[in-house]
Symmetry: C2
Subunit: 331 residues, 2 copies
Amino acid sequence: MITNRQKEMLKVIVEEYIKTAKPVSSNHICKKLKCSSATIRNEMARLEDLHLLEKNHFASGRIPSEEGYKYYVDNLMRPKTMTGEDMLKLQTIFRNNSLDLNDTIKKSIEIVSEITNYTAIVLGTSSKDNRLKKVEIVPLEDNKILSIVITDKGVVQHKILYLPESVATDEVKKTVELINKLVVGTPINEVSEKLEYEVKPIIKDYVNQYEVLYNTFYDAFHEFTENQTNVHFGGRNNILKQPEFSSIDKVKEILGKFDDIDSISKMQEDSNGINIYIGSETDLSNDVSVIKTKYSIDGEDGTIAIIGPKRMEYGRVVALLDYIKDNLGGK
Amino acid sequence: MITNRQKEMLKVIVEEYIKTAKPVSSNHICKKLKCSSATIRNEMARLEDLHLLEKNHFASGRIPSEEGYKYYVDNLMRPKTMTGEDMLKLQTIFRNNSLDLNDTIKKSIEIVSEITNYTAIVLGTSSKDNRLKKVEIVPLEDNKILSIVITDKGVVQHKILYLPESVATDEVKKTVELINKLVVGTPINEVSEKLEYEVKPIIKDYVNQYEVLYNTFYDAFHEFTENQTNVHFGGRNNILKQPEFSSIDKVKEILGKFDDIDSISKMQEDSNGINIYIGSETDLSNDVSVIKTKYSIDGEDGTIAIIGPKRMEYGRVVALLDYIKDNLGGK
DNA sequence: TATTAGCAATGGAAAGTAAAGATTGCTAAA
DNA sequence: TTTAGCAATCTTTACTTTCCATTGCTAATA
């Protein structure tokens, strides 16, 4: 269906457009392809018939269509080998032993976004596999206590609770002891249920004012399980440096999506490996592509996403993500 | 120096410009001032001589200069009484008892930014007055332990530490016991010093492998004291809705500042009360004004800043911040 | 049959022109 | 001191015009 020469030509056109951001004309690539501009024009017309190329107006050069990018990514692109410079910058992060997994990921996507001028996001560590390890309370002042919830994977959340003055510290302690005795080991998303059906009936008999206390802790746990989508941006505005974002409306569109938790959270749904979504396939905007990968290390898992223009350097970003994934394992 | 009529006129012009974002012409306000456009033109010329008004070109209407805004804010503006609608929206936050102080502040500035279309920032809780309350460790796996640092005000930070396999859990526990015994009660920014001069000499004799352990904890504390500037945005991109940000360059300028931790951190330096900084007085951009106030409640302190165009509704924002400050005290 | 040279046609981008509209400063009268 | 009237100024918008890159097509060539 598509000849080798057409493949070669599509590859050259896509890569030229990625480099220059300007529509590619027949003249411009005829040295590279060793044939005349007329021949290229003929082939370009056929590639346009196949919906792999587009033009903006009658007399403009061609740009890749969404399908064109897709074909390029699936069939023509070779994963670029990383430059020593890029590698060096990332290594300074991986070699820093005082960083934990989360910090390492954050720092490394900041590097990626800096060297590519794209925007990077980590969608963090949903703690659904976490189990409750411990509940701890620290009395601060009269009616103000600090509660700390710790999971077996080392996720920590804390919250200051305000209790009526009438509740004695002893009763709080008793409650916490009960929770620790009965609920520790439970998967974090089942804690609410267990509190309701197993702790509540017992607490009733042991603790005065159990209602206030119970509700306070119940709310605190509920919040914990809700509060799971942890989003960290690297180079949030970097994508604005790309020439496709020279129009104020496009800027507002994409930044609006960045502020919209729902759009961002959706990005977590993804299959394994490194996945590439182009234009309308993304949940963000027809003007961007997203390269994503899930990680799952030591029980913590999340998603790394790099957002750039459709004209992004797919090969380079794939190589960067591969490198990060490989080196994260060591943590 | 400046007549009453001129004051009145300046007030009308500033408020008209705040409302419409369009240069104010003599014709446009002559009904409000009960005199002819020619008279207004004469007075406008004098206000321009006083550098309180400006015009963009020869035949455009007048807009307030920075000095004009300043004069308005200092002498002419009356703090607007809040609308019932605005008040209602904030009350739903203040009445929610399950929110702690930090969440209440965050939620309320989100409301403010939503109803005003300005950008809001909380610069959080520098913990310099905090004292160490407790250090806790939770062993997770072989060489992976969770350390939690708690201050007397309820600030919590945690970090996963990786220790060489050769270090026994007992030794870790001993170290933590020592730290708790010797350092609890110390102001958080003096902890590093105390560790070095009081804990290190003693730990030497009690704990094998003290070096690794000591360094790990030392680093963790050091990070704690560094990690103090906590920034939370509300409606980060809201300011883009203002007509002054219709140029891509201005958008990039202000968003660049939002990404720049240094510019943002500087905003913490501020005197008491509600302060207004106009244009070049801000650290952000000549196109914006910032209305800031410090809060200090229950030992936690921070700064709330609202960022809008110079043409912002000063009176309304001041009223909103006043209202928030008054109601925060109850937490 | 595949390739190429040549050329008219297309449409955008840039520069120049013109007309319309808003608003000012100034002058002179009230 | 205020006001009416008007020329001067500058923006905005629309409309030409020119220029130029690029295409598609046709006809010649390998």
